[in-house]
Symmetry: C2
Subunit: 211 residues, 2 copies
Amino acid sequence: VQVHFSLNQSCSLLRNAHPGQTLFRQGDDCDHVFELYSGIVRGVTISEEGQRKVVGFFFAGDQIGLPLSRSYRFSAEAVTEASYVRQAEESWRLALFDSCSSDRNMLRLISAEQDAFYRRGELMSCRNVLSQTAAFLLSIIDRLAGQGNRVDFRLSQIDIADYLAISPETVCRSLRRLREMHAIEMPTHSILVVQDREMLETIAQDGLAAG
Amino acid sequence: VQVHFSLNQSCSLLRNAHPGQTLFRQGDDCDHVFELYSGIVRGVTISEEGQRKVVGFFFAGDQIGLPLSRSYRFSAEAVTEASYVRQAEESWRLALFDSCSSDRNMLRLISAEQDAFYRRGELMSCRNVLSQTAAFLLSIIDRLAGQGNRVDFRLSQIDIADYLAISPETVCRSLRRLREMHAIEMPTHSILVVQDREMLETIAQDGLAAG
DNA sequence: CGCGTAGTTGAACTCCATCAATGTCAGTGG
DNA sequence: CCACTGACATTGATGGAGTTCAACTACGCG
């Protein structure tokens, strides 16, 4: 996984967040941009009726909390141990300023949020949950530093459920079916082994291989 | 509806598109940015299996086709008669450059795509289709120049279905139910009258008012 | 006028949500 | 070290919402 950081780590403080800790809160003023250096962060919203939604997962290299709206649309919470740099909105804008004149690098970086939202849309528009789940696994496997086909998988099924807008029970059953089909293997809840990536891709594209 | 355009119309050619016409095509190089001046444009993707998806609707003031990725992720097609300005990627970047140094205006403009993707996620994560449909109607009513509560409504139910990832039949039935509940009225397929906006909002928040 | 596309309606079925019970695991404090 | 606790995961049974299929209608456009 190639990661291209834009903020100068030596200028800004590299901060750490423990699992569950909040980087910024939904509704607060967008006065800082956050660039992730390691770990996984989830974007969470709580609707008025108390409905929890995970609007996206973010990884090393992603910039989140962009000042595109007045206030943050979601809360950012560390899923794993995470490190990040926090930069004031104004100095971030100046960095963007520099980048605009020269190349597109910065522009690509600011697409992390948009990518995340777009991909969730893609995933949620799958017809059956099995292909949803398979597509989801593929989408995050590619973002996690995988030595071989074995990756740390520290996402709770509840997070996955709130992300795909399905019930936790269904997530559990889908994962089980994928295990039974020998597409994946999970020695522990926190370890995911992809046994048959091709099968996973087939299932993701259409859930017809549901023999 | 206040619209704030960034591109100088006198410098660039104001173009027109008829319903169904394509502004840019999924997969093509991102070498132009499109700013809409009037009309409705839909973002469409066709997956490998031929599955059609509407990833977003765009309106006057929105910038689409941003060079955040190498190639366009979706095709942009006019839904209604639409006018727009097409600007080369490089000159667009220079305009962004100017904006970065001064204020956030340009940054807000480039959030149109992101907003669209985010809102689709919000809508799709609704549990029942009635509230989905109600929320969808509210979301576009606010973007259409509504004289009173009567708006031109030229979206086909198929587009709505592909947008919400539900079947066209269900869209039809949902609209009928909303009509029966006297939340809306549709003298023609192309005219939508909001009879009871409050009811619509209630239904959107939770589909419990399903008497 | 006739054709094609979009919308409408009904009936059957499928899949997923829901509820409830049980199991598992990590952390805590006795 | 073990019991206790709480959060998360698992599994089964049930019902219901939405898909699917099919037939029919309405509408626009040549």
